[in-house]
Assembly symmetry: C2
Homo-oligomer: 550 residues x 2
């Protein structure tokens, strides 16, 4: 049999991963990697860490260059080359190589297998366009923004408050910039719940000018002219509330869309929204064409349905399977949980599984439980707060989602991702023996704590209530704290005196118990429930939840 | 119905946890907590962190004292009181309260439910006994050893190289002591595999005098007399190899046994070895008697069989279930994975699931895969090495155990514990989307990496070999590194030249490929396998495995 030709369309993370994996499987194949830009292999999610100064050299983000792939993997790398057409029936791809001064050369290349991995692209708002307006998606973007930052630009406007916008803002702030962040929604990190979003907002607002609930409606160049025609540099951005932001640079984090126009033109099946449809072998609807990376939808471990989560950890997994199978293997994907981590200044933020809205839409009778705990054994020096919210099914106790903010977030998100992928229940998670050692965790890990609280609620031992629900209703607030100043507006009976002072409370009132972290509040709920109080709730996450989201 | 009486036997971690949980369920019960010592609530595993100086005040380890339990939980705490007899038929327990100058008073207490949680006790070697010989199991032990350390004692002999011995040695070394550690086995941390044990040995040997494969056979007081009769202070310990250790203090970490004599005397069922037999509701064979903590065996998630793992994370879980059920609930335990973490100087060490020997004994056809990786994205500052070993079943791909040493160990052990508890396969673990963000992890987490390597081996794409197996056999070592000095005694063909220099190698030879971390070794194995070489192995974990275990 003649050696097969495998063409990989797209560099960055997925394409090079797939090419390397294909080579491991087939040392005889001709493997061609095509990338539009100059840089072949880098992680989109890593770019902000050069702006921050933490990764000093851009080359450190791009160590596996063309020479590396040729020397180690014998992969032919065609840089500055764009795939412009795909013919599934003829099994060819048309490549356009850009030359100096706008010249180009087209070439048709036949393949036995093609791996499509061009990723996602930023949705550019037409209202804000100019030479100093860029997303942060490629090393070229990074070079331009970094040159500006080190060349005297001070004021940076980040459009978008999702994870990419926050990473860009974090990198710019660490790099010494003045940052304004504009988000159209009313919270940062829209997929996260109130608590995490509020914590991030508080942290970021201390260092940056954060504008929520507004969009950019137009922009002006230095001379006051509109810049829509890309004929200048944006100097001022006008927002939908009439306010303006004067800025030296604009970083676009306004959302991305899958880059699948070639597949669409070739009649390959896409999902609504444009992501590529693949099966669990990373095969598209066209024989011989595999797809991977941030342009494909994958199966959700929550719903079994295809979801488009443009995240590097998922891109890596789909790329491995696409690469191996393009070279003749028969590997499988498994459903994904959508884990993500974001660092925002001193906060780590993470989530995995379904968001609250997704869980409600899909599973109906769901609940959420929030606790505050410590990242390691509380007596250990450096034990820092972590807030964990667990989203779970009342019907079968299944763990549906976990969100976290604080210290040690990455660890809990990973363990939760495994639990969710494996369809664990809250009762099982409550009893899981996670690793204990004082420098790393308490004997009852925060994940156990939140699952224990959820299990107790599922068993009917008590109910918790969110800060938002408290503010929306009419409740008697009962602060049972022993060491804090009492919460303003609340009745204050320390937990240590509660049993002796039950007569001071109305047994028919709707009572919300507040304590520092929620732990003693839970005990108070249990005491009241056993002494004839019928409508008692524990404030989820304790008083800091009220303060944070007020 | 009259209020029930619940008696909890044993303080430290499990008893207080069970008492608090019982109170949450039943606010009307009389709950009595009985503890032999002065201190009621502390974690045995936390004591070494006062010796190290990290936890400055002993009281920080014992914040929930008798007053706390009485005020918050209305639990009657009887300190310095020992349960000396149990009558399951009459539902009574005899308590002995020690008074001043050796006096005592016995009292019989009737219970509706009894929670038995006295923990485990150190097996004391009769050959080494004296006033300066103690385990580190109670706050009293800690006070004595700490007083010695701060009172001028310099030389400490730790007997036992398991996790407790290593934690004690770590604490003493950080506290400024000179430490000799004696372990009867030929490795430290006997449940761990070669690689982790060797890494710990190397780290500890740089700071302490470590003696392996020997035991203490006798001891002498300062005047040269034998000290067996506890009539003095041990000054010199004589080892089985004829060498001696002069010391100021001896810390016993010579293993523990479950403290179940009361149950045995009362006819309650025990397992071989003396651990208490409980069902998944934490019930013993005697109606009304529950047991929890370090004296009970629990169900292994690996085998379904009862195992005795005296670990705090497990003690906590059994205590919660025992406490709730003693108060009338119907909660369940789930099988345990036996996760553990140990900090030894700058190393974090962890394991979960079956050890290699356990896996072989139970599952027969098992394999292990070792990789070296980085704790977070390799380009990120502070990315530090982690070695991960995965133990898996060749029959069904099930993940059986994970061991780790290095940075970020706690995170991978927790995710692996969830994967093992949920019976995940190596193929699923390879594709699990763990959280990605450069400060916390790469897009392909080290757990993915080791599971990917194992999956490739299971798919027949190549074989790995351990450093021990390499030394026991006759192999041609082929170093394919590109940036290191070649391994002494190995053929050296850089991976970048391998395809062009295949003619220099004998296709019938038994070849072991070595690379820095094992990654390029794997690629070389794939190249050779596809070019007519039939007996090729990859050195698991790369050249550092050979260096570490030599």
């Amino acid at each position: 049999m003649a050696a097969r030709t495998i063409v990989v369309v797209g560099g960055a993370l997925a394409g090079p991963t797939a090419a390397a994996r294909a080579r491991e499987l087939d040392d005889h194949a001709r493997i061609v990697l095509v990338e539009r830009n100059v840089r072949v292999s880098y992680a989109v999610g890593a770019l902000a860490y050069h702006l921050s100064g933490e990764v000093a050299a851009i080359d450190a983000l791009d160590r596996e260059d063309r020479g590396f792939f040729e020397a180690f993997y014998r992969v032919e790398v065609q840089k500055e080359t764009e795939a412009i057409a795909l013919d599934p029936a003829a099994r060819t791809v048309t490549l356009r190589r850009r030359g100096p001064s706008g010249s180009f050369k087209d070439e048709s290349l036949a393949w036995d297998a093609l791996i499509y991995a061009p990723g996602a692209e930023t949705i550019r708002p037409p209202e804000v366009a100019g030479d100093n307006v860029r997303p942060l998606r490629t090393v070229g973007d990074l070079e331009a923004i970094s040159a500006a930052l080190h060349g005297g630009a001070r004021r940076f406007l980040v459009l978008g408050g999702g994870s990419f916008g926050l990473e860009a803002a974090d990198g710019l702030l660490r790099g010494g910039a003045e940052v304004t962040l504009v988000e159209r929604g009313h919270t940062l990190l829209p997929r996260f719940g109130d608590h995490v979003s509020a914590a991030v907002l508080r942290a970021l607002s201390a260092k940056a000018d954060v504008r929520l609930g507004v969009t950019a409606v137009s922009s002006e160049a230095r001379d006051g002219r509109a810049t829509e025609a890309r004929d200048g540099r944006v100097h001022r951005v006008i927002l939908s509330d009439g306010t303006t932001v004067d800025t030296d640079w604009v970083v676009l984090a306004t959302g991305v869309k899958p880059r699948t126009s070639l597949l669409a033109a070739a009649g390959v099946r896409l999902h609504e929204g444009g992501s590529a449809a693949i099966d669990d072998r990373a095969r598209t609807s066209a024989p011989g064409i595999f797809a991977c990376g941030s342009c494909v939808a994958v199966e959700s471990a929550l719903t079994g349905q295809p979801v488009w989560w443009p995240q590097a950890a998922i891109a890596d997994k789909t790329a491995q399977v696409a690469g191996a199978n393009a070279a003749g293997a028969d590997e499988r994907l498994f459903p994904f949980t959508g884990s993500m981590l974001v660092r925002v200044l001193d906060l780590a933020v993470g989530r995995t599984g379904a968001s609250w809205e997704e869980a409600r839409a899909t599973f109906g009778d769901v609940a959420r439980t929030l606790v505050h705990a410590r990242s390691n054994d509380p007596f250990f020096p450096g034990a820092a707060p972590i807030a964990l919210e667990l989203i779970w099914s009342r019907a079968d106790g299944r763990v549906l989602g976990v969100e976290a903010v604080g210290a040690g977030v990455d660890k809990r998100i990973d363990a939760a991702a495994a639990a969710i992928a494996a369809r664990m229940t809250i009762e099982q998670l409550a009893r899981l023996d996670l690793g204990y050692s004082p420098p790393y965790a308490a004997a009852r890990d925060p994940l156990n704590v939140v699952a224990t609280a959820a299990s107790a609620e599922r068993a009917g031992l008590g109910r918790s209530i969110t800060a938002r629900e408290v503010r929306a209703g009419t409740y008697v607030l009962l602060d049972v704290g022993t060491e804090r100043a009492p919460l303003p507006g609340a009745r204050h009976i320390p937990i240590t005196e509660l049993r002796d002072r039950l007569g001071e409370l109305d047994r028919d009132a709707s009572i919300v118990v507040c304590s520092g972290s929620g732990r003693h509040g839970w005990l108070a709920v249990r005491i009241l429930a056993q002494h004839g109080f019928s409508d008692v709730h524990n404030l989820a996450g304790g008083v800091s939840s009220l303060e944070l989201t007020s």
